[in-house]
Amino acid sequence: MISGIEILETVKMIKEHHLDIRTVTMGISLTEAISDSAEATAKKVYDKITFSAGKLVSVADKIADMYGIPIVNKRVSVTPISIVGAASRGFEKIALAMDRAASEIGIDFIGGYSALVQKGISDSERAFLDSVPEVLHSTQKVCSSVNVASTRAGINMEAVACAGKIMKRAAYLTRERDGIGAAKFVAFANAVEDNPFMAGAFHGVGEADRVINVGVSGPGVVKTALESVGDGDLSVVGEVIKRTAFKITRVGQLVARKAAELLDASFGIVDLSLAPTPAVGDSVARILEEIGLERVGAHGTTAALMLLNDAVKKGGIMASQHVGGLSGAFIPVSEDEGMISAAETGALRLEKLEAMTAVCSVGLDMIAVPGDTSEEIISAIIADEAAIGVVNNKTTAVRLIPVYGKGVGERAEFGGLLGSAPIMAVNPLSPAKLISRGGRIAAPVHANKN
């Protein structure tokens, strides 16, 4: 029998400490939609998405009701469109079909307008990449990603240069809304095929036809649990985080299995994420401060984050049958009240964020930079992140928003879950020659494992 204390603990986690299921994402294979005309492909894409995920929102709402836990986002990820549209081209038409399908079934985002070009770019992928900025401008719900590097392939610097251009152009086309187009695009190293989170979700070609992946959350729960530790040493801190992550993940596992059952889909993975929101009490930065920093960004931040990220994984792995996705603490600046506050006061800088990405999931995320930042500098930031990911055999990502007409000290407003961000300073020294050289940075020696 469950004790009263345990029942109240669960109720408090949900009611007072923002425990929620951050996303239930259905991955849908679109390989059967491949046709020789863009119109035919677009129609099949629309039909497959609306057929497979037509009940996603109502089922998620039913589960939320039954267990009394909010399910914040309902999303769909699809097979990378660079593959689906390679035969027909007309990528924009497919994107519009995705957008219409997403509106029809009532989800908030659809991911998979993506290309995997970590080693080389084919002709059709080049045409696809050219279409990305305009698609981010002309659609509401379509998210895009590009994998520019992997531990096995190294870093494709042509793709890195291309990703920098896409970010600049998407931000320019949506400059009236502080460059929100760039907030729907992410450049990856070691992209994963079962990520439920946007903007980087896509459905890998090795996946089943319909798969449910769930991302959990709960920074507020972890922070509250840590408040009870007092002056306990860091072994105690790690233990408390592990126990809390276990409980959070068990709820994710329960929801994922139920959703898969009711939607006649396979259960994929639970993503052991600590995903913040701009709400007070739902911040990863505040956990790091609770561990013992005056402000996030202080020396010691990377060590505290390593402890947090590792403990979340250790607690979560035992709680779920299958763990995957990005799994770890997220540090998106615009979506975390504590990060925003630290960036505004100058406590947190881009260079420190880069160091933090070496020990956590996932990368430089939702960071607003001055609109006049050159595309070479943005590409060089992507290359630096890719290098961290490739050498450490982990996923890293860059989602930067160059905000046209605004500079350091001003603020970009994206609204909703994307939040608002202070514009952060970027080192203005030129990396143009590095970027213009092209070619590939070879895979590191430890990639040769066979």
Binding site: I2, I7, K15, D65, M66
Partner: protein, 88 residues
Amino acid sequence: MKAFITVIGRDKVGIIAEVSSLLAERGVNIEDISQTILQGMFTMIMACDISDESSFGELKGALQESGDKLGVEISVRHADIFNAMHRI
């Protein structure tokens, strides 16, 4: 289905009567009940068996309405969420 109902708020006359008569009207069997005052707040937990699962949404709405009337917070959750979180 097994469910837990929690009632949290300021103690007053008639809370148990109101909630249990609401459950009786809907054929929900109360299997266990406990109440205590925690940090000055009245806290009641009821373990229930809801035979008609399809009426869960309606029951939830009715409990919330009662809660509003009594000035307490009443919620009902499937037992699985507590089992998942607290039992291996």
